[in-house]
């Protein structure tokens, strides 16, 4: 007899286990199954810090959270309502997040002396009442798996045991009515080389699935109906993947070969690794000796006519500053991707933060203006990357593209763009002298103030550029006082002028009569939008605007800010955008700031908004 099915509108599941337990795989498979059902989804992996800690230890715990629903969702969710804990350490580090009354599935086999002690449990939590406030399902996942795999040729007990994550996946799939066929296919291709391992995993998956059906512990199963999402072809994608694809697309759209200069660093390495796979797209990836060389090589490539890009995170971005300053003087296109992580210094390499905004704006000697673009969600990294490249190429300037560890590793469904909907960002090289017979490398385009881009190999346009101040138009070295003042202002005007070339700031203010505006930027879009929803559901009014362009600001920004009595600026830093808008628009905006190495939670932002609304 099939068990009763209960309808749910949304579920937040977290898989947690030891680094060796394969939680990331389990999570992403559950995600694929879910995506295929047409739910909206948002995921957030939570890696252990940097290197593998000893098995069973607290620092060794790896987690994967999935939020799926029958409506469009904005975040991976604050607190999970289902937690799968593969060992005591996983329980210890994650239980605090589980909703009261939430469902807890634990692998009871792992709760032995050693593991308990490694996790710092005096007593076995499964045996005292410390978990009383949750619905605990204590399942001997390991032994059940090993049992189910008895007799498979050539599978060692160790390997059999390793399949327990698939057992858990099977169980969860059953519990939430997910089809396991895609996972079966996946396993068969993944382990094609070792069919017996494939068989073991599949068997474990099926066993887990069957276990749910047969066991008493689970009374009901749940169903989450498909979400109403814009029609079209979707794909689940992480921020780093989307950013990489965006760069490849920009290369195609600009008809320029892509050159990436990079030095590995968490959480940006994946972009280098991803792009290294696109050699048939003419993509050149250069793993440099350090970040300075990575940026320098990108500048050299740009001088030669490539789309020069360099990627890193805070500790590496800061090293590139002098080179970016050179690029500002050279007025060559360059895109610098900063996948922000918690700092200062080495900080917390795997954790997200928005701490680099002021650095990318001001972190170079003297007046060195640069445009800054920030992505708002994993899939948005694709569009943001193209936009950054567009500005860099059109205005011959370095552009910073800001993402963060949360966008980089988080994933969401991505409505694939129509090819012909992608912008044409092609640019033109100088091929002819531009001043009756002469070539003046700093003779600017009247509208954009961009200078001509004459690449080596172009006869007759031979010229020298460099980091010393240069005379207007000719680009020759100049120490003339007025010229320096002029050039300083021209460089600033060029960047400021981009404001006329970017969309106005959009405000989400359903009834147009809110008094409080929440202004965010980049990766906080999800939590802030979700928070506004809650606030509105609570009957209050609030408006939301999310900045994509941090420099220059959209031309209507000041006007928008002044439209509201109060402005709240939530940030994963101590108030960097806040400083900028207060300085530029003299509005008495207030900040909501949390610097915990975690994405903002919708709940905390909602509380902050409500407090301000009710003030």
């Amino acid at each position: 007899m099939a068990k009763p099915v209960e309808q749910l509108s949304q579920v937040i599941v977290r898989f947690a286990g030891d680094s060796g337990d394969g939680m990331q795989l389990t999570g992403s498979q559950f995600t694929s199954e879910t995506a295929l059902l047409g739910n909206d989804i948002s995921t957030l992996p939570d890696f252990p810090a940097e290197i593998r800690a000893p098995a069973g230890s607290l620092p060794g715990v790896s987690g994967f959270q999935l939020h799926f629903a029958d409506f469009d969702i904005l975040t991976p969710g604050d607190a999970p309502n289902v937690l799968v804990a593969m060992n005591p350490a996983a329980l210890k580090t994650n239980i605090r997040d589980l909703q009261k009354g939430g469902t807890l599935i634990v692998n009871s086999d792992a709760f032995n002396e050693r593991n308990l002690q490694k996790a710092g449990y005096a007593a076995n939590p499964l045996e005292d009442d410390s978990l009383a406030e949750f619905q605990v399902h204590s399942v001997p996942l390991t032994s059940l798996t090993v049992g189910a795999l008895k007799g498979i040729e050539g599978v060692t007990p160790r390997e059999a045991e390793r399949s327990k994550n698939m057992f858990a996946l099977g169980l969860m799939s059953w519990l939430y009515g997910r089809p396991i066929e895609p996972s079966i296919e996946f396993l068969q291709t993944k382990f094609a080389k070792r069919p017996e391992i494939a068989e073991a995993n599949v068997k474990a998956l099926q066993a887990g699935n069957a276990f749910g059906e047969t066991t008493e512990t689970f009374a009901v199963t749940y169903e989450v109906k498909p979400a109403k999402m814009a029609p079209g072809l979707y794909r689940n994608i992480t921020g780093n993947q989307a950013l990489s694809l965006g760069l490849v697309a920009a290369s195609r759209l600009s008809k320029l070969p892509l050159f990436l200069g990079a030095y590995p660093i968490t959480p940006a390495s994946a972009i280098l690794e991803e792009l290294a796979g696109y050699k048939n797209f003419g993509v050149r990836t250069f793993q440099a000796e350090d970040e300075i060389a990575a940026a320098g090589a990108a500048v050299g490539a740009a001088f030669g006519g490539s789309l020069g890009v360099t990627t890193s995170a805070g500790p590496g971005i800061v090293l590139k500053a002098e080179t970016i300053g050179l690029a500002i003087m050279l007025e060559l296109p360059l895109v610098i991707c900063d996948i922000q992580r918690a700092g200062p210094s080495t900080g917390m390499p795997t954790k997200p933060e928005q701490g680099d905004l002021l650095m990318v704006l001001f972190g170079r000697n003297s007046e060195s203006p640069v445009p800054v673009v920030a992505a708002r969600s994993p899939s948005d990294c694709f569009d943001a990357a193209i936009e950054a490249c567009r500005i860099a190429l059109k205005y011959r300037t370095p552009v910073y593209l800001l993402s963060d560890a949360y966008l980089a590793n988080g994933s969401e469904p991505w409505l694939l763009p129509e090819m012909d909907a992608l912008p044409d960002i092609s640019t033109r090289f100088a091929t002819e002298p531009n001043a009756d017979g002469e070539f003046l490398p700093y003779l600017r385009d009247e509208k954009t103030l961009a200078r001509p881009w004459a690449v080596p190999g172009t006869p007759g346009l031979e010229h020298r550029i460099g980091g010393l101040e240069k005379a207007d138009r000719t680009g020759n070295i100049s120490y003339d006082p007025d010229n320096h003042d002029l050039m300083t202002r021209l460089r600033a005007q060029k960047v400021a002028g981009i404001a006329t070339d970017i969309p106005e700031l959009e405000v989400d203010d359903p009834d147009g009569d809110a008094h409080v505006l929440v202004l965010g930027w980049g990766g906080t879009y999800g939590p802030i939008a979700a928070a506004c929803r809650r606030v509105r559901n609570g009957g209050r009014k609030v408006a939301h605007a999310q900045l994509r362009h941090l420099n220059p600001f959209p031309r209507n920004t000041g006007e928008v800010l002044r439209r509201y009595d109060k402005v709240l600026v939530p940030e994963m830093n101590l108030g960097q955008l806040l400083k900028l808008v207060r300085a530029e628009f003299l509005v008495d905006a207030v900040g909501y700031n949390r610097v915990s190495g975690l994405p903002l939670r919708a709940a905390e932002v909602a509380d902050a908004i409500e407090a301000l609304v009710d003030q």
């Binding site: 029609p231 060389a293 030669g304 080179t323």
Partner: protein
């Protein structure tokens, strides 16, 4: 050599064509003038159009070089020229890319970029103007200044044991290593020619006199009329020198090199193409102080896969295998699903 003139037909280039309209701003008597002159008269024979020649430099007196060469050029930032040039060379194999740098620029702040460019064997010609001093900043000691050197920043003498640029380059897996002297136009031209012909990184140390802050640093070989101090390295020939060519070099069993009479046996026959780096290294340890002579010419010149070629090869291989990348297909790759 020749390129298309504005009127379409071939015009022949001369040294003059490589001069720029910029007033040359080195001190009177600076060795850089001689290097510039030698380069400008060598360039035409290279057979490469001016527009396909690029000079990249860092910061320093030496680094002003690109401004005076009527080619494409970049006067970048201190020490970074090898990195910047790497990006250019790797993306533009059709160009002839030269790096002009000083002993501070290349060996102090830029040391790391230099050794990595050399090990990668990027197709760059790196000219190190070694005046054993920081010229542009007005006379502090450099990584090639002799121990105990009294300079502005070392009133009691410098404490740092100097680099031997050639030993460092060879230790960094350089495939081409040579030494020239600013005033020796013929010798420098020969070295430049060999460097240009070498596919991969070519490292050339040029003894350059800074009359203002370190005058006479190389007088012993610059004004060596009788050739008593210069040890010319001629490939395939015994290494001999001295007024009457009476002195010679020989290898000891401990790997070091000693002086002997040209008439004795065991005289080293120079083999710049020898694959092993040991002998070139041993030769780099022969200095005026240690041996009373200074080898000049090409120390090492061996073939090894070139970084730029390898990269181009991988791109070609990938395209060969997977076909010219299709953006649409790429975006649609991975698991997708349709929402009606």
């Amino acid at each position: 050599m020749s390129e298309n003139g504005t009127n379409g037909d071939k015009v022949t280039l001369t040294a003059k064509d490589y001069r720029t309209d910029q007033e040359v701003r080195w001190c009177p008597g600076c060795g850089d003038y001689a290097i510039l002159a030698a380069m400008q008269s060598f360039m035409p024979e290279l057979g490469i159009e001016r527009e396909r020649t690029v000079f990249i430099s860092g910061i320093g007196c030496a680094a002003r070089f690109p401004y005076y060469m009527n080619t494409y050029g970049m006067h970048s930032i201190h020490g970074r020229a090898p990195a910047i040039a790497t990006g250019l060379a790797v993306t533009r194999p059709d160009l002839s890319v030269w790096v002009a740098t000083g002993d501070g620029d290349a060996l102090s702040i830029g040391g790391n970029h230099l050794i990595h460019a050399l090990r990668r064997n990027v197709n760059l010609k790196i000219l190190l103007f070694n005046n054993r001093i920081y010229g542009l900043t007005k006379g502090q000691y450099s990584p090639t200044s002799e121990l105990g050197k009294v300079t502005k920043s070392t009133p009691m003498g410098s404490l740092d044991w100097p680099f031997n640029p050639l030993s460092l380059a060879i230790g960094a897996e350089a495939t081409f290593v040579a030494r020239a002297i600013d005033t020796d136009k013929a010798g420098m031209t020969a070295v430049l020619r060999a460097a240009a012909e070498h596919r991969g990184s070519a490292f050339v140390e040029i003894f350059q006199n800074c009359p203002i802050f370190n005058d006479d640093a190389f007088t012993f070989v610059r004004d060596d009329k009788e050739g008593v101090n210069r040890i010319p390295l001629r490939n395939g020939e015994p290494i001999t020198w001295g007024a009457g060519g009476e002195k010679a070099l020989r290898q000891r069993s401990d790997g070091s090199i000693e002086i002997c009479a040209a008439s004795e046996d065991g005289v080293l026959v120079h083999d710049a193409h020898h694959e092993g780096a040991a002998l070139a290294f041993a030769l780099s340890r022969v200095t005026q102080d240690s041996h009373g002579g200074t080898p000049v010419g090409v120390f090492r010149d061996v073939e090894r896969p070139v970084y730029d070629d390898l990269m181009a090869g991988q791109l070609a291989a990938a395209t060969e295998k997977l076909g010219e990348g299709d953006l649409s297909a790429l975006l649609h790759s991975g698991e997708t699903w349709n929402i009606a």
